[in-house]
Symmetry: C2
Subunit: 434 residues, 2 copies
Amino acid sequence: MQDNKPLVVGLAGFGTVGGGLCRLLRENADLVRRRCGRDIRIKTILVRNANKIREVETPAGAALVEDAAKIYADPEIDVVCELMGGIKPAKDLIDKALEHGKDIVSANKALLAEDGLGLFRKARKLGRALRYEASVAGAIPIVEILRESMSGNRITSLIGILNGTSNYILWEMTAGGLDFATALQQAHDLGYAEADPSLDIDGIDTAHKLTILIRLAFGIDYPFSSLYVRGIRDVSALDIRFAGEFGYNIKLIGQVRDVGEEGAPRLEAGVFPALAPKPSLMANVRGAVNAVRVDGNASGPLFFNGAGAGALPTAGSVLSDLIAIARYDRACNTGYDDSGLKKADIVPRAEWNATYYARVMVDDAPGVLRDISGCMAAHGVSVAQMIQKTETGQHAVPLVFMTHETTDLAMENALKMAAKKGLLREPAMCMRVL
Amino acid sequence: MQDNKPLVVGLAGFGTVGGGLCRLLRENADLVRRRCGRDIRIKTILVRNANKIREVETPAGAALVEDAAKIYADPEIDVVCELMGGIKPAKDLIDKALEHGKDIVSANKALLAEDGLGLFRKARKLGRALRYEASVAGAIPIVEILRESMSGNRITSLIGILNGTSNYILWEMTAGGLDFATALQQAHDLGYAEADPSLDIDGIDTAHKLTILIRLAFGIDYPFSSLYVRGIRDVSALDIRFAGEFGYNIKLIGQVRDVGEEGAPRLEAGVFPALAPKPSLMANVRGAVNAVRVDGNASGPLFFNGAGAGALPTAGSVLSDLIAIARYDRACNTGYDDSGLKKADIVPRAEWNATYYARVMVDDAPGVLRDISGCMAAHGVSVAQMIQKTETGQHAVPLVFMTHETTDLAMENALKMAAKKGLLREPAMCMRVL
């Protein structure tokens, strides 16, 4: 039923995400073994030029090849992991790999949005997995959430901030008061925006992702070409300001709403800049970050926020797909080999390290502050901020302070010392600062 | 390999969540069929008193029984869904059901926290699924996220607001200025708090959930009895106020941090009130809501927010577990029978219904406001708010307004009319309000 031989991967594409995946497989190797009961090994990496000097280390034992057949036709390879991007050669590779009995992991949003339906049909016919967690919203596991976790829900609405570059630009315009051109230049300088930023700022990238999410949420084919798409080029500093005066932040969103009857979804979907009420979680998504809000008829609103791009966040999603394929044992109930979990190595509370808030009630008398400070100092607790207020007519007055980093034990002992000296009129209140 | 016969469920417990599950199975029946290729049918419901009058409708064809053996020993039943709560009888039922070859779905956090390890070992030995999405954080799919979606990550830290009642009380103290006793009373009156609220406000419920999450995140046994637990009874209005002055909100959290070396986790874990910086997502979790922040070495920080309790949110999580068991086909790539997805029924943009923001640049001249308003009125667009500012020396001045609900088409036509009449000095800017 299952064996422990490694899952053998053919990797297509050795750029940012491919390099991140190799690094994660190295750094998290033990964990991967505990989570799926076997190793995951990259055997072959398909690249355009095998002789190019690379910054990323090639995984031990892996061969760089320029011929796609060395990936899709190698009988030893179990999974083809497609991180090339683009439509044409990626589609050919996946088609051929499916035909050769490989499972597929892909991060290719453009391909999955525009040609996904055919690929899914083919994968299903051949009984292969085609997984694509990394294609939408980077580290946010929205594909799994819609496919598995929310499977009991009728989805009524989904709103996503799915393009980090656009969100960065709009956030800089909002919080920093920049105009569009300056914010875009800044995104370039920080490496968030490509030389040609049109996929990002014209909404195409968001539209690819929204197409994939609509399919997952409703099990319906919403053709990418039918999606209304409008980018953020015409959002001016003036609009940001006026929206702010009305109490809103401007966000580039992909949105779909089911406005139909139960059982007969009618979908209103598009990509466009929109105004989100300032107190909402959506309005407060800052910088090059992604977020998705999904409303289900059971769950109510759920909100997810996290890194939408980057080598490791995206590679982590790719790796979760590989691990899912490597686990052929459905009774993996804890996500680990749970036949004999190790006991935790527990840090005793005395060693807990944090900054703390403490409130003591003291006499409103000279010398009290000095005495309390003395107790702190005696246990190496350094005070960062303090509030002392005299409230007239009160017998005991509060003295409140925030510490620099210290241990739970030091705090406890310092406060015990103050109590012992008779400085406290009530038991002290102490809480960790996150 | 698979057939289409219904998944037959024996339900133990017919309270709030059990009733919610029956309702969802009825309302979302078509969807469930599309998502797992078969029906999910409740055959038998174990209750304490079969003759009690119930508000909830018994599912068609289901029998109420008082004898547990009618659930665990019925050869026709595939899955036992345990929603009784409590330790003793629930554990016996699950033990016996596993021995009779049933898969298990449970929402029992106390049982899973205190005796989970033995149950998982048994389930694994017998090759059965033991799923428990609903046991932690209601509708937030944190079990699946840790077990599957973040499986490529080494988890470095997890912080959860896992008890809605406590969060409601602290939020009312923060936003409403109430003292603890008044906020607790209010939680009672709204049905958030039990007659004996100690499980909630003393942190026990949070501790059960944290124990389960630690096991999922680290694959390590952190005994529930070793967890440091402190509740919110001693959080005073004074502390809420001072924390506020320092820029923090007070939250009851469950927290675990890995402070060990790579590959050798050392865990610092506990339940306690703590100060969250006001701009953080965690500080802004309002009312009886749950949230979890997880940091992974690949993903970086991920934040999840949603309903932590309630009939339908919890039942939705139970149902997702049942669907996972009902799907024995791993190549379910879209989460639906994707051999032939239907085309979407697309709402044309003209019919999109929303409130809108519009900015027009107009001459600073008498009658312009009247003319613009006339264009709006002519297309049935009703203006809710307006900003008009004269900026000296400017030729064209902005006129900005927010509408009541209207259609995209009406907005477009109204603005076209204004342009045609020569009222606009620049193209109009129009955006949807979320």
